[in-house]
């Protein structure tokens, strides 16, 4: 079996920063496993500017931000990158199994960093009653369809949830010629950054309904309309406030959940509600020598903070390998 000092799972900004920091701290033998065919993680589909203001004091797009790290990673001899490598199993004594086209590989690590990112919360998790037609997309999926494939999902959209991805997608769809009829947010305030509310909604005349929820989705084959209602402080529907918005597309942007199924498989403690590792300190897990960073550790708003904290995870792993703690 292949043996490595450190294996990093996930090649997004978190995994790259952790691998680079571990390398800088003297770890000689690092394997970085990424499921996709590129490094960069979710940044590859975030083509809008707004990344790197803290880290580089300049405004970059997602792919540009990622690229700075990809260049460094490929220059660093102590890091070996394996793409299209999907980790399917992790044990508490740090044995890793991963699939890649043509092989099932096994590797024994001395330390592991999990940088597997987040998945999006879905319509099913809220859950919204009604029918289940075509035209309902997690906002991140719509982002990928439009930005990476050039696929325009529909004509008229309503967005559920005012997280940053939803706000950015409101503007994106408006720019692509779709009519964005509303953003519906159950809380009293937007969940996204104030600058995104201003630049993505206000500038495009897209109404934001605070303290409102989608009471139903309707439509047989494709979405036809949504029923919206106002809610009280306990998020219960206020009677008599229902109104309808016709649309063929509904984007769901109701937050992210860390992907920690591997950590759970290894037997580490994972909070059942937030799906984050249970540990005394950021980046640690309940298993010694196993670390988690980036969106897998907690949901971050800014990629700059992901990079900063993930570098610490790399240093922690290096220290563990040197001193056993």
């Amino acid at each position: 079996m292949d043996e490595r000092e450190l294996v990093v799972v996930g090649g997004g900004p978190a995994g790259m920063a952790a691998a680079l920091a571990a390398g800088a701290a003297g770890v000689k033998d690092i394997l970085l496993l990424e499921r996709d065919q590129h490094l960069g993680g979710i940044l590859n589909q975030c083509i809008h500017p707004g990344f790197g203001l803290h880290r580089f004091k300049e405004e970059l797009t997602g792919p540009e931000y990622a690229d700075r790290f990809v260049k460094q990673v490929t220059k660093t001899p102590s890091i070996e990158v394996s793409l299209r490598s999907f980790v399917v199993k992790l044990t508490s004594n740090m044995k890793i199994s991963y699939l890649r086209p043509g092989a099932l590989e096994e590797v024994q690590a001395k330390s592991v960093i999990l940088a597997t990112g987040c998945r999006e919360r879905t319509r099913e998790m809220i859950p919204i009653p009604g029918t289940r037609p075509s035209g309902i997309y997690p906002a991140g999926l719509a982002q990928k369809m439009i930005n990476m494939e050039g696929w325009i999902p529909g004509k008229e959209a309503v967005i559920v949830g005012s997280g940053d991805i939803g706000l950015i997608m409101a503007r994106r769809m408006a720019l692509e010629g779709m009519k964005v009829k509303a953003v519906i947010e159950i809380q009293k305030q937007s969940r996204g950054l104030a600058r995104n509310v201003a630049q993505c909604l206000d500038d495009y005349g897209i109404p934001l309904y605070l303290s409102h929820k989608i009471a139903r989705i309707e439509g047989a084959d494709r979405v036809e309309k949504v029923v919206v209602a106002a809610v009280d402080d306990a998020f219960c529907e206020k009677p008599g406030t229902r109104f309808e918005l016709s649309c063929d597309t509904v984007l769901i942007s109701v937050g992210l959940i860390p992907e920690n199924e591997l950590l759970e498989m290894a037997g580490a403690q994972v909070d059942r509600k937030t799906n984050t590792p249970v540990a005394a300190e950021v980046n640690r897990t309940s298993i010694r020598g196993m670390f988690a960073c980036g969106n897998a550790c907690k949901v971050y708003d800014l990629v700059d903070s992901v990079t900063r904290d993930s570098e610490k995870a790399g240093q922690m792993a290096a220290q563990f390998l040197k001193e056993g703690k």
Binding site: R35, R84, V88, L99, P101, A103, P127, S134, D221, R272
Partner: protein
């Protein structure tokens, strides 16, 4: 004139036409394919199994809770036996997990005794009343107020849509002609010759000696096309809620409460894909297309399930759906219509229709034979089917062997459910034409992220395999397209 005659479309002729490719129609088609007959299976949806047969509990019932004199009861017990043979032949995953009917009150144990007696009359074996100590050992997550249960070992689970796909695939392999997106719009009775019906679907006409109506929720409409109008389908809605696979081992058996007059109550269900499920509700609805889930339904299902297993939480839910039971009175209606010779109604196939389907098929073939259909067995009938490979069903060591044979087993498309590119392509080769068809066959998009990560990749594979444009890809047939427009750059 000769010229015109040349242009006239030739009418396809069959010995039997089956309307509806749900589990009932698919089972009948496969049964008929054992004989030297020309059989046509017509389905209005883009793929088989898109009607009632896709949205149910997936339970192979033992047969309890049916009246001993009912068709439902007899065919359920017979179907439970036959499904074991069929699943072995077709390579469908059937698991006999057993069922518990639980009671909260000592006084209700008498009711369990009655259910047991009735079940024994139907021929159900090895039932046993079990007490708290047994339950604590074998079903530890049950609520503490439960005092006893009836244990019925012969109940099991199956993937309902995969059963339909595999039955259909095998029937087609044995010569049955399947036409999807073919809604039967009219039936004309012919007189004189051996062909007694002319069926119109998707602009074409098909003639047949025998016509079998297995149209599920629309069976009364199809029957009315030949003038038989003495029953009406009343859809009864059932909402079901799937839980995260992480809860897979929350229950070891199917857990039932005592039945109500109209339904078996809210159950805790094991599914053959691992995710537990809770439901279904039972509410009559006048609308055959009303597949909406509701807030009330969710609350009812959660309350019913939590009463039996308090550790189930709202946050465990990852998916939900509703199905409509095609009820026509209390029992199934399976009969040759003497007023319309050659026409067989298979209607009102409510629960336990999934279980009963193989027995219904045998019964229908018997009816056809009794009314003049000659059954000559085929010597070259293919009774078996090469089992579909699902990585999620096999150990990693097996996966390694597969990848060595075919590298694309190592190319994972759906990460939540671990589905490879090979499995997606295989599903398309076996007939999947829509995103739902791929989901039902492979589980890709059925996990906790609901296709957030893999949808675009699957769409690309469909384009490669089927030569479709992206605008032509649908969720489940015409009208459910996913993309309005592709911006072709450059």
């Amino acid at each position: 004139m000769y010229h015109n005659y040349e242009l006239m479309p030739t009418i396809e002729r069959y010995d039997a036409i089956i309307v509806g490719a749900g589990v009932t129609g698919a089972a009948i088609a496969r049964e008929l394919s054992k004989y030297k007959l020309r059989v046509l299976l017509l389905e209005k949806e883009a793929e088989p199994a898109f009607g009632v047969s896709k949205s149910n509990s997936g339970i192979i019932h033992a047969g309890t809770q049916n009246h001993p004199d009912s068709l439902k009861g007899r065919l359920c017990v017979a179907g439970n036996k036959l499904i074991r043979e069929i699943s072995a032949e077709l390579g469908v995953h059937f698991v006999e997990v057993g069922q518990l009917i639980v009671v909260f009150d000592e006084a209700d144990v008498a009711e369990l005794d009655r259910i047991k007696r009735e079940g024994e009359e139907l021929g159900i074996k090895d039932m046993q009343i079990v007490r708290r100590d047994w339950l604590s050992l074998y079903e530890p997550n049950l609520g503490s107020e439960i005092v006893a249960a009836l244990y019925v070992p012969s109940a099991g689970i199956i993937s309902p849509y995969r059963l339909v796909y595999d039955l259909t695939e095998n029937a087609v392999k044995n010569g049955v002609v399947l036409k999807t997106s073919h809604r039967v719009a009219g039936i004309r009775r012919l007189s004189g010759g051996p062909y007694r019906f002319e069926v119109e679907a998707a602009g074409s006409k098909y003639q047949t000696r025998f016509l079998i109506n297995a149209a599920g929720l629309f069976a009364d409409k199809v029957s009315a096309m030949v003038g038989v109008t003495d029953f009406k389908i009343t859809p009864r809605k059932g909402e079901e809620y799937l839980l995260d696979k992480k809860r897979e081992h929350i229950a070891n058996h199917l857990v039932f409460p005592l039945p109500t007059p109209t339904s078996k109550g809210i159950l805790i269900i094991k599914t053959s894909d691992g995710n537990p499920m809770i439901g279904p509700t039972a509410r009559d609805t006048g609308d055959r297309s009303d597949l909406a889930t509701t807030e009330e339904g969710l609350n009812e299902v959660l309350a019913g399930a939590r009463r039996m297993m308090p550790s189930i939480e709202r946050g465990d839910i990852i998916a939900y759906f509703a199905g409509l039971r095609p009820a026509a009175g209390k029992d199934f209606i399976i009969r040759h219509e003497t007023a319309v010779p050659g026409f067989v109604n298979v209607a009102g196939i409510q629960s336990p229709g999934l279980t009963a389907a193989p027995a219904i098929a045998t019964m229908v073939v018997g009816i056809l034979h009794g009314n003049g259909l000659v059954l000559t067995p085929k010597k070259n009938f293919h009774s078996t089917r090469e089992k579909t490979t699902h990585l999620f069903e096999i150990p990693l060591s097996k996966t390694r062997e597969l990848i060595q044979k075919d590298p694309s087993y190592g190319d994972i498309v759906c990460r939540c459910e671990m589905v490879s590119a090979k499995e997606i392509r295989e599903a398309i080769r076996r007939g999947a034409r829509t995103m739902d068809g791929i989901k039902f066959r492979t589980r890709a998009q059925a996990g906790r992220c609901h296709g957030g990560f893999c949808t675009t990749r699957i769409m690309k594979i469909m384009q490669e395999e089927l030569g479709m444009t992206v605008e032509e890809i649908t969720k489940r047939g015409e009208g459910s397209e996913l993309v309005r427009e592709e911006r072709r750059h450059g």
